[in-house]
């Protein structure tokens, strides 16, 4: 029987992909792991128990990250959907769509530096509201561009049909447009959540260290060479995206394909 090398290559590829994640989880349970020790001197739940204590501030970072990302994702998805409709029906829709690319011309850090003066003047520097507004400025154009492909002549005909059947604007959204765009709305929510969840440049400048999201925390721990806490915060960092990915795969992609 001829041995096939494909399963071995495939297993190796899977191992290589999974290794960083497994190693990250192992590292989050370890401490005092120095070269050339093969195993860490401590392996247990000590690091994870710090989540519950206020010492490392991980739980509060997790909570503030969730608040920021959920707010950014919900507001930018809904406003992106509604405003992309207005853009589609606008006579200058091409110019308006082009403007939506503007925030991506600059790197987020440079963009944040440009905006910082205005945020300072408006009292949005160093607080969660400021970070939400700053991240919204990045996430909203993304949502706007994302939904621009949804609107077309057929959707316009659906809207007209609902109107002639006696439906008002609110009923059109609730009974036709939202159900038609359900898959896209979920994907956009997921994407804008991720944009906000992993955002570093804008958050660090507008938050000026006072708003410590999990992403900011990871960088702080790495700067302090505290790899164990860094790994722990990374585990927390990837938890919500994994949950979202699961729901996306289960409820969205299945219906789209």
């Amino acid at each position: 029987m001829k041995l096939s090398w494909k399963p071995f290559v495939l297993s190796l590829a899977v191992l290589l992909i999974l290794f960083p994640f497994v190693y990250l989880v192992l590292l989050s349970f370890a401490s005092e792991w120095r070269f050339p020790d093969l195993l860490p001197s401590y392996f247990g739940l000590k690091n994870w128990s710090t989540i519950l204590s206020s010492e490392a501030g991980l739980l509060s970072s997790f909570a503030s990250s969730l608040v920021i990302s959920l707010s950014v994702a919900i507001v930018s998805t809904l406003s992106g959907f509604l405003i992309s409709r207005a853009v589609f029906y606008h006579p200058k829709k091409n110019t308006l769509t082009l403007l939506a690319y503007f925030p991506y011309i600059l790197a987020p850090v440079v963009f944040a530096a440009c905006l910082s003066f205005f945020f300072l003047k408006m009292g949005l520097f160093g607080n969660i509201t400021g970070v939400i507004v700053a991240q919204f400025i990045i996430a909203f154009p993304y949502a706007l561009l994302f939904f621009s492909s949804f609107w077309n002549q057929k959707v316009k005909s659906y809207e007209d049909l609902v109107a002639t059947l006696g439906g008002n604007r609110w009923q059109t959204y609730l009974k036709v447009l939202f159900p038609l765009a359900k898959g896209l709305l979920l994907i956009c929510f997921f994407q804008t959540f991720l944009i906000s969840w992993f955002e570093y440049g804008l958050t660090s400048i507008i938050g000026i260290g006072k708003v410590q999201t999990l992403t900011i925390k990871v960088f702080l721990f790495i700067k302090e060479a505290n790899y164990y806490y860094g790994a722990l915060s990374c585990c927390l960092l990837i938890f919500p995206p994994v949950v979202l990915l699961y729901f996306n795969k289960r409820y969205v992609f299945k219906k789209l394909v």
Binding site: K154, S157, L161, L165, G166, G167
Partner: protein
């Protein structure tokens, strides 16, 4: 007259799409309007339905001026060539859609939709999603969805344009039956000569934004612009 359209004019940019449109129609009658693509038929229907605002002129329905009334308040349903069934709703829910918008009690909805499904010969298809229905069935559901709301006026924009000849013929018969059963007043736009003659109590011919409504079918046939004479000559020639 039940429907009175007076001096409607509509421009898109510099192009005048509808020119001084004036006609009237009795209740429970069908006016079929023949016209080639781009002659302004759709704009005319959309103006009457309130989906396009006219530059000037007025529309009166049952004695009331509806020119500036929003489409959802006119009780005029506009049917497209495409069936436009809502893909997330089954046949039953598609037909019930207009009744649900009006917040009609559930029992009445069930009763009326079941009766409509019966009239459309779609009883066994009620739970099917639009993608499980044939072209003719989809168009029937679309008709049911419009008629069940008891519209004062039905605007049909080449409703059978995308159907094959056999289905089209059956749908024409079905529409005539439904018109009688539900006392429908309608404007039926088509580019098919035979369909225009079959479907209308009165016939109109639209050309370059102008509509001419004929007093009877003889006048329509006699007008060389409608192309009926050419058609008769063609078929007569084949017979010989």
């Amino acid at each position: 007259m039940f429907l009175e359209v007076q001096n409607i004019v509509k421009h898109f940019g510099k192009e005048q799409v509808v020119k001084d449109l004036t006609f009237s129609l009795d209740a429970k009658k069908t006016l079929s309007i023949l016209g080639k693509s781009g002659c302004g038929k759709t704009t005319m229907l959309k103006t009457i339905g309130g989906l396009v605002a006219p530059d000037s002129g007025s529309v009166q329905l049952n004695g009331a001026d509806i020119t500036n009334i929003r489409p959802e308040k006119r009780n005029i349903v506009y049917l497209y060539q495409e069936d436009l069934l809502f893909p997330h709703l089954n046949a039953f829910e598609n037909i019930a859609f207009g009744l649900r918008l009006k917040k009609i009690p559930e029992n009445t909805i069930k009763e009326e939709v079941t009766h409509m499904l019966c009239s459309l010969e779609l009883e066994s298809q009620s739970q099917k999603m639009p993608n499980q229905l044939s072209g003719g069935q989809r168009q029937r559901v679309s008709f049911g969805r419009a008629i069940i709301t008891n519209p004062s006026l039905l605007l049909l924009d080449e409703p059978f344009g995308s159907l094959d000849a056999g289905t089209r013929y059956r749908m024409q018969g079905l529409f005539q039956n439904l018109s009688q059963e539900f006392d429908i007043t309608s404007l039926f736009v088509t580019h098919d000569l035979k369909e225009a003659v079959l479907m209308g109590d009165k016939i109109g011919f639209m050309q370059a934004g102008n509509l001419k409504v004929y007093t009877d079918k003889e006048e329509f046939i006699a007008d060389p612009a409608t192309g009926v004479k050419d058609e008769i000559r063609f078929w007569g020639g084949l017979e010989r």
